[in-house]
Amino acid sequence: MEYQEEARERRITQLRKGILELAVMGVLYTERHYGYSLIRVLAERGSLTLKEGTIYPILARLDREGLVRSEWVESDQGPPRKYYVLTLSGRKLFDELSREFDSLVSLVEKDGGLERTEPVGRKLTVRRG
């Protein structure tokens, strides 16, 4: 019983981590954010129970692949902040991934018999505007 609970938690974490990259891209689609503000936005939009530090590997990967652009901006509230925004190629990729995500969600709905009025992926695409 204890193991099942642990396995369930692990799967949920993996699922969230998988989706997190898409969610990050969705937030950075139109607005620039630094790590902390990005986490706050994600937390406001939905349940973010992942550790905050997990956002940085994602940002680093996106930056390395040229999907986001970053710049340091001085802050009057403390140390400088590193802002990120999605590049053009990042936006294109997000659009493709978002469509793919919608189709995956509908696949899960069919198989699992889940009833959703609005696919999660569509929520992401709606939010970018």
């Binding site: 902390y36 550790k51 530090g53 940085y56 590997p57 990967r61 403390g78």
Partner: protein
């Protein structure tokens, strides 16, 4: 490093050192930038964390941020690849071949020399205690002969006639001049000399063993220190595995 109250600052410093220890293979500028970013995040999260207790606030911030390993996980594979590429690969291949050709045979030679030294030392110890045991046994034998000479003269004569006891002609002539009791005392004297020598060697053997044990402990201690220093230097130069956690840090304890 941003401005924190004393204890909170110490906890953050420990945490940042742990993050930095994970970034040993990441190139300097990239490492500095990432550390600045984490520092900025922690400071802002700390400023916005509600509560009165500074320590509780910073620990909550670090708990929310997660383990350093999670935050740096995506940087290490690339850094490792870069690290390998930055070093001169052909030079390392040549070094590897040289080590295979000369280093390994020399290593075996070194092990053989070490084994030889250890075996010779063991042989010396065995020979020493064998000689000690021989002296003690010889002393006891002379003592037994003395008793035979004094209390069982018939048995003594029989042993001489059977050839069990033999003496040089000159020695026999001198011994013949002495009384049986005198011969017995002479044998007891020899017995005392041998037993005394044996006991003396046994006493010295105790010190010999202590000396050898000291030498061995010293030698292995020096070898251990040499190995630890080499490992530390290799780790510092980025060749060895990074030690993931610093011991006894406040931030580490916060996650236990």
């Amino acid at each position: 490093m941003s401005n924190y109250p004393d204890v909170a600052g110490k906890i953050v410093r420990d945490y940042m050192e742990r993050v930095e220890s994970h970034l040993g293979l990441v190139p300097g500028p990239e490492r500095e930038e990432f550390l600045r970013e984490v520092d900025s995040h922690l400071y802002e999260a700390y400023q916005r964390m509600p509560g009165e207790d500074d320590v509780a606030r910073i620990l909550a911030v670090l708990r929310n941020f997660g383990e350093p390993a999670e935050a740096v996980s995506d940087r290490l594979p690339k850094a490792m690849m870069n690290s390998g590429m930055k070093r001169n690969l052909p030079l390392h291949i040549v070094a590897g071949i040289l080590i295979a050709l000369f280093g390994i045979p020399l290593g075996f030679g070194g092990v053989a020399v070490l084994a030889g030294i250890l075996m010779s030392l063991a042989g010396m110890v065995v020979a020493y205690f064998t000689a000690t045991a021989s002296l003690l046994m010889a002393g006891m034998f002379f003592f037994l002969l003395a008793l035979v000479r004094m209390y069982q003269p018939d048995l003594w004569d029989r042993l001489i006639s059977l050839g069990v006891i033999q003496m040089d002609k000159e020695v026999a002539l001198i011994v013949e001049e002495m009384t049986p009791a005198g011969q017995g005392f002479l044998l007891i004297l020899f017995a005392c000399v041998f037993i005394g020598a044996g006991l003396g060697m046994l006493w010295l053997g105790k010190h010999l063993m202590r000396g050898l044990r000291f030498l061995l402990v010293l030698a292995f201690d020096r070898l251990g220190k040499l190995a630890r220093n080499t490992r530390r230097k290799l780790r510092a130069s980025g060749w060895g595995p990074m030690r993931p956690w610093r011991a006894h840090s406040h931030a580490e304890n916060a996650f236990r």
